[in-house]
């Protein structure tokens, strides 16, 4: 009995059990659909894993990591906002703005790499943050709901970049920018060689560094303490002498900065130029990634890995097992759905545990 209590109340354990349970269920549903439509799930899934480079091909595994890189950051961006009481649907727009500025710098300036690359990356962070500053300000000063303002900012970013690319850094086609100078690229020979030929790049490390920093801020610093307090209960935060408005704006900006960095990793590492008329989907996937990762930086790494390998393995699944890759999104969606439903199990478990323990404690 006591063992059981210990087990179910161990937050750590739950955080592991539940997402993995939902992943399992998701794949199960996928398998059922496949069999119903006359495919062989075993074949399909082994092909999926192979396509994602779990065995055999290193390049494929590199691509999995490549795909997950921007998702780590957008997921982190959304998660951070949530943890501080904000819902940032605008990661896509912030990513686009940050990415644009990075590409701009990558094209127009001529510096040695040690200056050029950091400069480009930093400015992506700064401008992602600035783009999020507006919704932050609107919320803090005018009580404008961040959900609307970030949605609007997405489209404003979309069109702003649309014009700026053509006006400032036109490429050989009117629909895309020129290519960044190699001194501003995140790609490195040694990584590509290591994963024979994948475009996997330094962005991955930037992402992991960001994860650590954000985790550290949230869990270890007074700054994080303050942000969370404001998120949970602004009145109490004000009572305690915290600057509520300033903190709302800051949280929003940090969230935006992360999305901006995602832009850098994507446009400086993955694409090396920027196309107009495309709102990167990573911002919206980031919502799912963040929530599936239970809003914890570490969790985000896992869930973005899931998204990453599913997406980079699905085409191979189709070509080799002949299972339409349209099914993979269905599976991902199902996983997210189950993880949602499972949160209830979790909260129920911990509730139970709590009162059990409290009972013990009060005696």
């Amino acid at each position: 009995m006591n063992k059981l209590i210990k087990y179910i109340t161990d937050e750590g354990k739950q955080n592991i059990i539940i997402p993995f349970l939902s992943v399992f269920l998701g794949f199960l549903v996928g398998a059922i659909i496949m069999m119903a439509s006359g495919f062989n799930p075993i074949q399909a899934y082994s092909a999926l894993l192979m396509g994602a480079g779990f065995y055999g091909n290193l390049q494929r595994f590199g691509n999995t990591l490549l795909n997950m890189t921007p998702l780590i950051l957008t997921g982190l961006s959304v998660a951070f906002a949530f943890r501080t009481g904000l819902f940032n649907i605008g990661a896509s727009g912030q990513m686009l703005m940050g990415g644009f500025v990075a590409v701009y710098i990558g094209i127009v300036f001529d510096f040695p790499r040690i200056i050029h690359l950091p400069l480009a990356v930093l400015s992506s962070i700064v401008f992602g943050g600035l783009w999020a500053f507006i919704p932050g300000l609107l919320k803090a000063k005018f009580k404008v709901h961040e959900v609307i303002s970030t949605i609007m900012m997405n489209w404003i970013a979309y069109w702003t970049v649309y014009d700026l690319v053509r006006a400032t850094i036109p490429g050989n086609f009117d629909t895309e920018s020129a290519v960044i100078k190699s001194t501003a690229s995140l790609r490195t020979a040694w990584m590509s060689n290591m994963f024979n030929g994948s475009y996997i790049n330094l962005g991955l490390f930037l992402a992991f560094i960001a994860v650590i920093i954000i985790w550290f801020i949230l869990e270890k610093t007074t700054f994080g303490y303050e942000l969370k307090a404001v998120g949970f209960n602004p009145d109490a935060a004000e009572y305690a002498g915290m600057k509520v408005d300033r903190n709302i704006i800051l949280s929003m900006m940090i969230s935006g900065a992360l999305a901006g960095l995602a832009g850098a990793t994507y446009y400086l590492g993955f694409t090396n130029n920027i196309k107009i008329g495309v709102l990167p989907p990573h911002g919206f996937d980031g919502i799912a990634v963040a929530l599936l990762g239970l809003l914890s930086p570490i969790g985000v790494v896992f869930s973005s890995f899931l998204f990453g390998f599913m997406n980079s393995g699905k085409l191979f699944m189709q070509t080799s097992a002949r299972v339409p890759n349209d099914l993979v999104p269905v599976i991902i969606a199902t996983i997210v759905f189950f993880s949602a439903a499972n949160l209830m199990v979790k909260s129920w478990l911990s509730q139970l545990g709590k009162s059990l323990k409290k009972d013990g404690g009060e005696k």
Partner: protein, 351 residues
């Protein structure tokens, strides 16, 4: 029941997958169902399979996005599962094909609307790649003439999506066509006041709004080269035609007569500036399998070889107009009329 039978079916397919040649398509921006460029290419491939069932085995992939890296990995997925022919529609594939062609020398590539290069636009010839271009502007030119001759209001319009090369060429050609008609066929038709690029290939409602605006100000024929935006254009035209108005749309890439179809069986499609992508795909697949593959070359398909043009049957286009167009077509073919393929040429042409 059906599950198991199909399953074994799939099994055998993959087992003796060696014997029929595997042909794969990697789609460009948009989906396989874009009723336009991707779908056109796919149609050609499907047709080839239907006519040579045991010669080929076909499939298509929609990459994760419109980026070099996505294209390369999609191609690798096909390569790693022994596809021997890969068709890629769109200039966006240029650098990806250049890379893939080098790594997979045993695979033949059919690159439509582009040629391999390293990003510097210096053509790199690969023995296993044929680069196919289309003189869209020539098709659009004829469409322009058709519009000029058919309009009753003396106003025609052009709605482009994003300003990518093929779309621009359609635009220039169309303008040139109208201008040519005004000069040589005694028409007096205005297109310049109704010549826009909406900016996306997706905003359906914008397409309808712009079309409606044009029709309201007296345009009666609109040429669209705008994907989803064109959907809105067709929709607006259908609504008006059903209500008895006399308005038309000129389709793009493929014969969009069907798309313009209304319930009474009529269609609002006056004609279409067709790019025989399907034919190209079909022909070069056949060339690869039965010999005669022009590897390493850049081929341009023109009016001359029916690579582009306007469809023959279309009740909306009177036969005499069609005849007139045919005559001009011949002039283009024998070179006595050169259709402008760039803004500069167009300006020159109009002088």
């Amino acid at each position: 029941g059906c599950g198991t039978t199909n399953e074994t079916g799939t099994g055998t397919d993959t087992d003796n997958g060696g014997s029929p040649v595997k042909v794969g398509l990697v789609t460009d921006s948009g989906t396989i169902d874009d009723k336009s460029f991707n779908e056109g290419t796919w149609t050609g491939i499907v047709q080839y399979e239907e006519e040579h069932p045991d010669a080929v085995e076909i499939d298509y992939l929609q990459p994760g996005g419109e980026e070099h890296a996505y294209y390369v990995s999609a191609i690798n997925d096909l390569a790693d599962t022994d596809y021997e022919i890969i068709v890629t529609p769109g200039f966006k594939f240029e650098t990806a094909i250049n890379e893939a062609a080098a790594t997979h020398e045993d695979i033949k590539f059919i690159l439509l609307d582009g040629y391999p290069h390293t990003g510097d636009f210096e053509f790199v010839s690969h023995e296993n790649v044929v680069s196919v271009f289309f003189n869209e502007h020539e098709a659009a030119f004829l469409a322009g003439i058709a519009a000029a001759l058919s309009t009753e209001t003396g106003n025609v319009g052009f709605i482009g999506g994003m300003e990518i090369p093929p779309v621009q060429k359609f635009g220039w050609g169309f303008k040139a066509g109208v201008h040519y008609a005004n000069e040589n066929l005694g028409t007096d038709v205005n297109v310049d006041d109704n010549y826009v690029f909406q900016g996306t290939f997706t905003d359906v409602s914008a397409g309808q709004t712009i079309a409606s605006g044009m029709y309201n100000r007296g345009v009666d024929i609109i040429f669209h080269a705008a994907g989803g935006v064109g959907v809105g254009v067709f929709n607006e035209a259908k609504q008006r035609a059903t209500a008895g108005e006399n308005v038309f749309v000129i389709g793009v890439d493929v014969d969009q007569y069907e798309t313009g179809m209304m319930e009474d069986g009529r269609s609002v499609t006056l004609t279409s500036a067709v790019k025989r992508i399907d034919v190209a795909a079909y022909d070069y697949i056949d060339a690869i399998i039965n010999g005669g593959f022009p590897g390493g070359e850049i081929v341009t398909l023109t009016l001359a070889d029916n690579g582009v043009g306007i469809p023959e049957e279309n009740p909306n286009l009177s036969s005499e107009i069609y005849q007139q167009i045919q005559e001009i077509r011949d002039l283009v073919i024998d070179g006595s009329v050169v259709v402008p393929a760039s803004q500069e040429d167009l300006d020159a042409f109009i002088q």
